[in-house]
């Protein structure tokens, strides 16, 4: 029986921050991909985290979202977007040293099927606002995923010590 859950790459943001966290040269030898992340924004703008596959900046992404913020539950959707939002940003105004957490699951990433992914994310602020979210993502492309770029939808930087790890999962 083979081990099936392998680390592919970890990216940790250094001092000065970074505009994105990017996994490149993703091998096509796995069945599914899973990303574990913990990030914080360098900005107070309170945007959402987003991703792009294969550096595609076309209007090829759609999403649906369910989230709770401690006082209400809401749902939104978006179509024909230029990236796929997948979690809320941990704003720089939130409690110091607190980072968000998220997990993204991408099944059958190397096939010619339209790509879907599920993401769960949480932010925490040891004061008031915090969010827990479920996102469903569609990338309308038949291409195998070889690059994943994580970014802030408000074009702000990730703060130092933000990190994400990409794992590959084999079903054989």
């Amino acid at each position: 029986m083979t081990n099936t859950f392998d680390k592919i790459q970890t990216v940790t943001v250094g001092s000065g921050g970074a505009a994105n966290i990017e996994f490149t040269s993703i091998p096509g030898t796995y069945t599914d991909l899973k990303i574990f992340g913990s990030t914080r924004s360098g900005s107070s703008s309170g945007n959402q985290l987003a991703l792009r596959f294969n550096s595609d900046t076309g209007s090829n992404y759609s999403r649906k979202l369910l989230y709770g913020d401690g006082s209400s539950v809401q749902s939104f959707s978006g179509t024909s977007e230029t990236y796929a939002r997948f979690a809320f940003t941990q704003s720089s105004t939130f409690t110091a040293s607190v980072f968000n957490n998220f997990v993204i699951y991408i099944p059958n990433y190397a096939t010619s099927l339209t790509k879907v992914a599920g993401a769960e994310g949480v932010t925490e602020n040891n004061a008031t606002q915090a969010e827990a979210s479920l996102h469903g993502i569609t990338w309308n492309s038949s291409a195998a995923i070889t690059i994943i770029t994580l970014l802030d939808s408000g074009s702000t930087n990730f703060a130092q010590y933000s990190s994400a790890t990409l794992y590959g999962i084999k079903n054989t």
Binding site: T4, T31, S62, L66, S75, Y105, V116, G118, G136, N171
Partner: protein, 162 residues
């Protein structure tokens, strides 16, 4: 380091099928993870039956978002539990289901189900099977009695705690 996350079986449908069966599940793991991806002829959620039990022994407590509002609810005394993937008609569904402590013979079995997919609602639920038997087989069907379509894939993984 011990190997702890292992593939048990995978099925990719070569033609449309009304059900998918995962059988002869070994009791040698601690937890199970099932990943589903594909479409169905009717759309909707997958439903799961364990060990061939078609009695009213399942319940599901859920929350979902449809793009405009968030909803929570419960289905009691059902003949199968909602689990696995939420599929579209001709579009890709996706989902991950986790069954912890599936092989013990003393407790009722519960499962987490996270469903996503192309333009599908975002679903998270907990399911309960009121039976203490170790899970050795799972049959998935479409909640709207449709077929899973060609290319639908389902993979079963086992996780060992030791």
């Amino acid at each position: 380091m011990a190997r702890t996350y292992e593939p048990i079986s995978t099925q990719t449908l070569g033609s449309n099928q009304a059900s998918i069966t995962l059988s002869s599940i070994p009791g040698t793991y601690t937890d199970l993870v099932i990943v589903a991806n594909g479409a169905s002829t009717s759309g909707g959620s997958m439903k799961a039956r364990f060990n061939g039990d078609g009695g009213s022994n399942y319940s599901t407590t859920y929350m979902y978002g449809d793009g405009s509002s968030g909803v929570g609810g419960r289905i009691s005394n059902d003949a199968s539990g909602i689990a696995g993937s939420r599929n579209g008609i001709g579009s890709q569904g996706g989902g991950v289901m986790q069954i912890n402590n599936y092989s013990n013979a003393t407790t009722y079995k519960s499962m987490l189900s996270r469903q996503f997919g192309q333009n599908q609602i975002q679903w998270f639920s907990v399911g309960l099977w009121r039976n203490t038997a170790a899970i050795t087989s799972i049959v998935f069907t479409d909640e709207s009695s449709g077929n899973f379509t060609t290319g639908f894939t389902i993979s079963l993984y086992g996780i060992k705690a030791a």
